[in-house]
C-alpha cells in the first residue's frame, strides 16, 4: 500500500485524506504545535510533528516536511492549497528525495508563479491579455508615467511577487502614480524581498471567472467548466458558483477553450485553474493568471461534474489515471459555495480568532456538502487562515442552489468567534445577487445592506 503525506492542515488536509482513503492509500498528517489536537491529525493514519505554530517554522518549512515524509515512509506528497503548494523549490525537493509530487512539474509552477512570464506564455497560446506594462525593478521607475499613459487609467500597481490581493493598489490619476508606485515598491521589497512592480489596466466592473483544467502531461488537456468567484471582500473570495450567471454560453465556451489550450501547450500535468477577469458590462475576458494547485472552491466543480478532482490529481501523479476525453465531462445543474470565516463583517471583516465553544453543522442531506477542518471545542488560531468551513449546495437551477444554501447556512450554529454567517445569508438573499449581477465590487458596493447588525 502506498503512503501519501499531506503537507497542509485544516479542511483541505481532511479532504485530501478522504480521496486517499477512497483510493486505498495510507495517509500521513503533519502538524504544528497549535494543531496537535486538530481534526486533520486525527483523520490521518499517522501524524508527524513539524514544529512551532508559526507557519514559517512548520507548514512552510521545507526541510522539516521532507524529513517528516521520509521518516513516515511516504511515497508521495500532496501540498493542498496555500503554504508550499505553488513553491517550485519544494516540488523539486520532494522529487529529489525520491518521492512523487502530486502537482505539476516544478518548471510549470515556476513559469506560472512569475506573473510576467505567465502572461507571455498565455499570449503565446493566443489568450487575450489585459493591457499591462513591463516590470519596474526596485528603485527603477524611469519611464513610469509613459507606461501609465499606455496602460490607461484607472490602473493597478501590482507587486510582481504579490498575490491574493496583497501588494495591489489602485491609481485613478497620473499624478498619484509615482507616489503609489514608490510605496508599493518599498512594501514589496520589505514583504517579499522583491520590490519589482508592474502596471495593469483596472476594469471598473470586473468579474472573476476561472476555468478548471486538467492536463495529462502529454499535451492533452480537458476543462471541467468555469467557476464565477466574483463575490469577494478585500480581494478574498467569499462565494463561488458554477455556471457563471448571466454569461453567454459562447463566452463561457471561448474561455474554456482558451484555458484548455494554455494547459495543453504547457504539457501541464494534473489539476490547474486558469483565472480570467471579465468586464461585467462588455463580457470581454482577459487572462489573469494560472494557479498550479487545487483551489479552495474546487468542490463547486465536483458537485456539478460528479468528478473527484483530488483523486484525479493523485491518480495522475501515481500514473494510474484512466485517460478521459472532453466528451466524458458532463456538468449538471448549478452549485454554490459559501466560505464561512471567523471574522467580523461589522468591523470591516476583521479576523476573529478564538475557541469554537459550539460548532454545530446540519445532518448530511442530498445536494449539500460541507468541508470543514474544525469541531466544537477546537481553537481557530490567529496563525492561520480564518476559514472554518465551506458549504457547497447543488440544485437543478441557480435559484434552487441558492435557496438550499440559505437554508443550510441558517441551520449552522457557531458560538465563540464572530462569523460571516449572517453576512453570507444577506448576500445570497440580496436582489442583485439573486439576479446574478455579481462583480468584484459587489460587497463593497452593497456593504450597508449586507452588514446589518
Amino acid at each position: 500500500m502506498k503512503t501519501v503525506l499531506v503537507a497542509n492542515r485544516g479542511e483541505i488536509a481532511c479532504r485530501v485524506m478522504r480521496s486517499c482513503r477512497s483510493l486505498g492509500l495510507r495517509t500521513v498528517a503533519v502538524y504544528s504545535e497549535a494543531d496537535r489536537q486538530s481534526m486533520h491529525v486525527q483523520s490521518a493514519d499517522a501524524a508527524v510533528a513539524i514544529g512551532p505554530s508559526s507557519p514559517r517554522e512548520s507548514y512552510l518549512n521545507m526541510e522539516r516536511l521532507i524529513a517528516a515524509a521520509q521518516a513516515s515512509g511516504a511515497d508521495a506528497v500532496h501540498p493542498g492549497y496555500g503554504f508550499l503548494s505553488e513553491n517550485a523549490e519544494f516540488a523539486q525537493a520532494v522529487l529529489a528525495a525520491g518521492m512523487v509530487w502530486i502537482g505539476p512539474t516544478p518548471q510549470v509552477i515556476r513559469d506560472m508563479g512569475d506573473k510576467q512570464r505567465a502572461r507571455e506564455l498565455a499570449r503565446a497560446s493566443g489568450l487575450p491579455i489585459l493591457p499591462g506594462s513591463a516590470r519596474f525593478p526596485f528603485g527603477e521607475l524611469g519611464s513610469l508615467e509613459d507606461a501609465g499613459a499606455q496602460v490607461g487609467y484607472p490602473l493597478l500597481v501590482k507587486a510582481a511577487a504579490g498575490g491574493g490581493g496583497i501588494g495591489m493598489r489602485r491609481v485613478d490619476r497620473s499624478e498619484q502614480l509615482r507616489p503609489m508606485a514608490e510605496a508599493t515598491q518599498s512594501m514589496a521589497q520589505n514583504a517579499f524581498g522583491d520590490g519589482a512592480i508592474y502596471l495593469e489596466r483596472f476594469i471598473e466592473r470586473a468579474r472573476h471567472v476561472e476555468v478548471q483544467v486538467f492536463g495529462f502531461g502529454d499535451g492533452n488537456a480537458i476543462h471541467l467548466h468555469e467557476r464565477d468567484c466574483s463575490t469577494q471582500r478585500r480581494f478574498q473570495k467569499v462565494i463561488e458558483e458554477s455556471p457563471a450567471p448571466l454569461l453567454a454560453q459562447t463566452v463561457r465556451q471561448r474561455m474554456a477553450d482558451a484555458a484548455t489550450r494554455l494547459c495543453a501547450d504547457q504539457r501541464y500535468g494534473g489539476a490547474g485553474t486558469v483565472e480570467f477577469v471579465v468586464d461585467a458590462d462588455t463580457h470581454e475576458f482577459f487572462f489573469l493568471e494560472m494557479n498550479t494547485r487545487i483551489q479552495v472552491e474546487h468542490p463547486v466543480t465536483e458537485m456539478n461534474t460528479g468528478r473527484d478532482l483530488v483523486a484525479m490529481q493523485i491518480e495522475h501523479a501515481l500514473g494510474t489515471l484512466t485517460a478521459m476525453a472532453q466528451s466524458d465531462i458532463d456538468a449538471q445543474g448549478h452549485a454554490v459555495e459559501c466560505r464561512i470565516y471567523a471574522e467580523n463583517p461589522l468591523k470591516n471583516f476583521m479576523p476573529s480568532p478564538g475557541r469554537l465553544l459550539r460548532f454545530q453543522l446540519p445532518e448530511p442531506q442530498p445536494g449539500v456538502r460541507i468541508d470543514s477542518g474544525f469541531r466544537g471545542g477546537d481553537e481557530v488560531t490567529h496563525f492561520y487562515d480564518p476559514m472554518i468551513a465551506k458549504v457547497i449546495c447543488h440544485g437543478a437551477t441557480r435559484d434552487a442552489a441558492i435557496d438550499l444554501a440559505l437554508d443550510v447556512l441558517g441551520r449552522i450554529e457557531v458560538e465563540g468567534p464572530h462569523t460571516n454567517l449572517a453576512f453570507l445569508r444577506a448576500t445570497l438573499a440580496h436582489p442583485g445577487f439573486r439576479e446574478g449581477q455579481v462583480f468584484t465590487g459587489f460587497i463593497d458596493h452593497h456593504k450597508r445592506e449586507l452588514t446589518v447588525p
Binding site: I166, N190, M350, H382, Y384, D385
Partner: protein, 73 residues
C-alpha cells in the same frame, strides 16, 4: 507634551515595524503591520508626533490590547 499608546486591536503577530524610535509620524500614518489569520492589518498613529518607544519586536505574538508603540505628541 503627551504620550499616546497604539494598541493591538486583535491577537496576532507583529509582521513589520515601519518606524524607528525618533522618527516623526503623521496622523494615520502606518507605524507597523500586524498579521492575523493571513491578513495584513496596518496600525496607524492616531495623532502626529514622534516615536518614543517601540514595545514589540517583529515576529512577536501579541494579544488583543497589547501596547505596541508609544508616540510623543
Amino acid at each position: 507634551m503627551a504620550t499616546i499608546e497604539l494598541k493591538a486591536d486583535i491577537t496576532g503577530n507583529v509582521w513589520k515595524i515601519l518606524k524607528a524610535v525618533g522618527d516623526a509620524v503623521q496622523e494615520e500614518e502606518d507605524v507597523l503591520i500586524m498579521e492575523s489569520m493571513k491578513m495584513e492589518i496596518p496600525v496607524g498613529s492616531t495623532e502626529a508626533g514622534v516615536i518614543e518607544e517601540i514595545c514589540v519586536q517583529e515576529g512577536q505574538t501579541v494579544e488583543n490590547g497589547t501596547v505596541l508603540v508609544r508616540v510623543r505628541v
